[in-house]
Amino acid sequence: MKKLVLASMSVAVLLFTGCSQKNPDVDMTTKNQKMEKVSNTNANGMNASNMDSNSMSSNSMAENNENAVKYLIANLESKLRPVNFDFDKYNIREDMKPVVASSATIWDGDKAQNLSVKLEGNCDEWGTDEYNYALGLKRAKSVKDALGARGVAVDRIMLVSYGESNPVCTEHTKACWAENRRVEFKLLP
C-alpha cells in the first residue's frame, strides 16, 4: 500500500460572512396596499363621527361627479382605436391617419375638454428592451405630433412607453406582433 503523502497540504478556514444580505424585499404592491388602507381608514373615520348632513350631501355630489367623469372616460375610450405601426417603424401609416383624425375629433370634442390624455407606446417582442422602450416612445410622439398638427392642444398630452411589457396579444404570430405595435389613448381626469 502506497503511503499517502500529505506534504504541502494547507488548511484554511474561509468564513462566508461578507456576502451582502441581498434581501431588502421591496414590495411595491404591499406599499401601495398600505397607502390605500390608510386612506380608507380616514374616510371611514369621518363618516362615523364628524359628518353632518351638508357634508354628506356634498360628498355625494362629489361622488356623483367622479362617477360621471369615470363614465365619460370609459365611454370616450371605447371609441378611441389604437394606432398601429409597421415593424421597427414609428411613422404613422397611411391607413392609420384616419384613426388619428377620428381620435383627435373624439378627444378634442366638447365632452373631453377637461380631460388629459396619456399616449401609451407599445412594441412587439422583437428587439432589445431598451431600444424597444425608446421605439414605443417615438411612436407615442408621432401620434402626439399628428394630433398637434390637427390643432389639438398638446399640453394636455403626456407620453409613456411600455416597450414590450404590455402586449394585447401573447401568441407568437405575425398578426399578434402587428397588433402589439401600437399607441393607445388613456384619458385622465
Binding site: 500500500m1 500529505l6 462566508f16 456576502c19 431588502p24 401601495n32 415593424f87 407620453l159 412607453s161
Partner: protein
C-alpha cells in the same frame, strides 16, 4: 505531473490570450481530468449533496480549465487507496467535499488530491452562514480550486447576477441570483420594475426603474439596509444604462422632450448633463475609455447601430460597427465591444439575434452565437466571459460565453421572461 499540466495550461493561455476576436478551439486533452467525490455523512440531505455535486461539476466545466468526470462518487473523507488514486478512471485530480449542516450554516471541508500520487495538495474548510446560499459556496470552491492549479482567474463565478423578469402584463420582478440561477431571491415585486443595474463594484446597492407611479422613477436600493431612495423621475421613459467606475455618475436614457436621449447624471451634485441631442432614438449608453467616452445605440442610419461619442466638448459621433442592419444592444470593456445583431431586416425574415464581438484595434468580427434571440450581452470583470439573455422556443435563459475556450452554456429560467440583466 501537476507541474506539467500547469505548464501546459500556462503556455496555452499565453499563446491565445492576445485577441479575443480570434476564435480558438483548444484541445481538450490538454486540460486536467478531475473527479468529484462526495464524502458527506449519510445523515446529510442527499438532495443537497447531489445538487452540490452537480454545481461543482458544472462550474468545473464552465471554467473550461478542467475535464470533469460526470460520475457521482462517494468516498470517505480521509480516503483510502482506492479512493485517492481512482486508477480505473484515469483522472489527474480528485476534488473531495464533505458537507456538514450546523443550524442555518453549511460547512464544506474540501480536499484537492493528486490522483497520481495520492497526495493531498490542499485542504480548505469553508463555512456559509446561510445554508440556502450553497450555490455560492460551490462557486467559491471551484474558484479556489482553479487558482490552485494556476489557471486564469474565474472569479466572475462569484459575481451576483441581477435581473428583471416579466411575470405578466406590465408586471415584473427583480431578482438576485448566481450565474447558474441555482440561487434566486426576488427583491422587488409588484408593478413594472425594470432595468436593474448594480450601483457599484461591491454589488451592495442597485438602481432600477419603477413604472408604478405617475412618472417612470429611478430608485436606488441599499441591499444591506433595504433602504430605497428616489434618484430622479423622467417623462416617457427612464433607464439607468451604466454606472461609472467610481459609482458617482450614471448614464441615463431619458426623454424630457418626448424622445430618448442619453444623459450623464452626477450623483454628488445632482446635476444632469445631456450627452446626445439627436432627434431620433439614442439609447443604451455605456462608459468606455475610463469614463471619458460612451458607446450607445442610435437610429441615425435609419436603423439601430453602435456609435461612440466623447463626454463633454463638441465632438461628433463616430460609427463603431460596420456590420449588420439592426445592432441594438451593446456593452464594452477596454477595446472590446459585444453587441446583438438581428439577422434579417424585417419581421418576415429570420427572427434570430446573434451576438458579435469586435475589437476597436482590429477589423475582426467574431460571431458568438448561432440560433435564437441572443440579447443584452454583458462582460464579466475579466473580459473573457460574457453573460447574456437567450430567448429560444418560449424559454428564457441566462447564457454564459467563455471567449478563450469558445464555449457557451445556458441556464434556463423556469418561470417568466428575462427582461434585462446586470452582473
Amino acid at each position: 505531473m501537476i507541474k506539467k499540466l500547469l505548464l501546459l495550461l500556462f503556455v496555452t493561455y499565453s499563446l491565445f490570450a492576445y485577441d479575443a476576436t480570434v476564435e480558438i478551439v483548444k484541445k481538450l486533452d490538454t486540460l486536467p481530468k478531475i473527479a468529484v467525490q462526495d464524502a458527506s455523512d449519510s445523515s446529510e440531505d442527499i438532495y443537497l449533496r447531489k445538487k452540490f455535486y452537480k454545481l461543482l461539476v458544472g462550474d468545473l466545466r464552465v471554467s473550461a480549465h478542467f475535464r470533469p468526470l460526470d460520475k457521482y462518487m462517494t468516498s470517505s473523507y480521509s480516503g483510502g487507496v482506492g479512493e485517492n488514486f481512482l486508477s480505473k478512471e484515469s483522472v489527474d485530480l480528485i476534488l473531495r467535499f464533505r458537507l456538514v449542516t450546523v443550524g442555518n450554516s453549511l460547512i464544506a471541508n474540501v480536499k484537492l488530491i493528486n490522483a497520481s500520487s495520492g497526495e493531498v495538495r490542499n485542504e480548505t474548510n469553508y463555512k456559509m452562514q446561510q445554508r440556502k446560499r450553497f450555490p455560492f459556496l460551490a462557486h467559491r470552491i471551484i474558484v479556489n480550486t482553479n487558482d490552485l492549479i494556476g489557471a486564469p482567474s474565474i472569479k466572475w463565478m462569484e459575481q451576483f447576477v441581477l435581473f428583471a423578469k416579466y411575470t405578466g402584463k406590465r408586471e415584473s420582478e427583480i431578482v438576485v441570483s448566481d450565474y447558474t440561477l441555482s440561487f434566486q431571491k426576488t427583491i422587488v415585486k409588484g408593478g413594472l420594475n425594470i432595468f436593474p443595474k448594480w450601483a457599484n463594484k461591491l454589488q451592495d446597492a442597485f438602481y432600477y426603474t419603477s413604472y408604478s407611479g405617475y412618472l417612470p422613477t429611478l430608485y436606488r436600493v441599499d441591499l444591506n439596509s433595504g433602504e430605497r431612495r428616489k434618484i430622479i423621475t423622467g417623462k416617457g421613459m427612464l433607464v439607468c444604462s451604466d454606472v461609472s467606475n467610481d459609482g458617482e455618475k450614471l448614464l441615463l436614457t431619458m426623454a424630457p422632450q418626448d424622445q430618448a436621449d442619453i444623459f450623464l447624471y452626477d450623483l454628488r451634485f445632482k446635476q444632469l448633463e445631456r450627452i446626445t441631442k439627436y432627434s431620433g432614438i439614442d439609447v443604451n449608453g455605456n462608459f468606455i475609455d475610463n469614463d471619458k467616452k460612451i458607446i450607445f445605440v442610435p437610429d441615425r442610419l435609419g436603423y439601430p447601430n453602435i456609435f461612440s461619442k466623447k463626454i463633454g466638448g463638441h465632438g461628433g459621433v463616430e460609427q463603431m460597427v460596420y456590420h449588420g442592419k439592426n445592432n441594438n444592444s451593446v456593452s464594452a470593456i477596454d477595446n472590446y465591444i459585444v453587441y446583438s445583431s438581428r439577422e434579417g431586416e424585417s419581421e418576415f425574415g429570420n427572427n434570430v439575434f446573434n451576438l458579435y464581438l469586435i475589437s476597436t484595434k482590429t477589423d475582426y468580427i467574431r460571431q458568438l452565437t448561432a440560433s435564437g434571440k441572443n440579447l443584452y450581452p454583458r462582460f464579466a470583470k475579466d473580459k473573457d466571459t460574457i453573460l447574456f439573455i437567450k430567448h429560444f422556443k418560449n424559454q428564457s435563459s441566462l447564457g454564459v460565453i467563455r471567449l478563450n475556450s469558445n464555449k457557451s452554456f445556458l441556464f434556463p429560467l423556469k418561470v417568466g421572461k428575462i427582461q434585462s440583466i446586470d452582473w
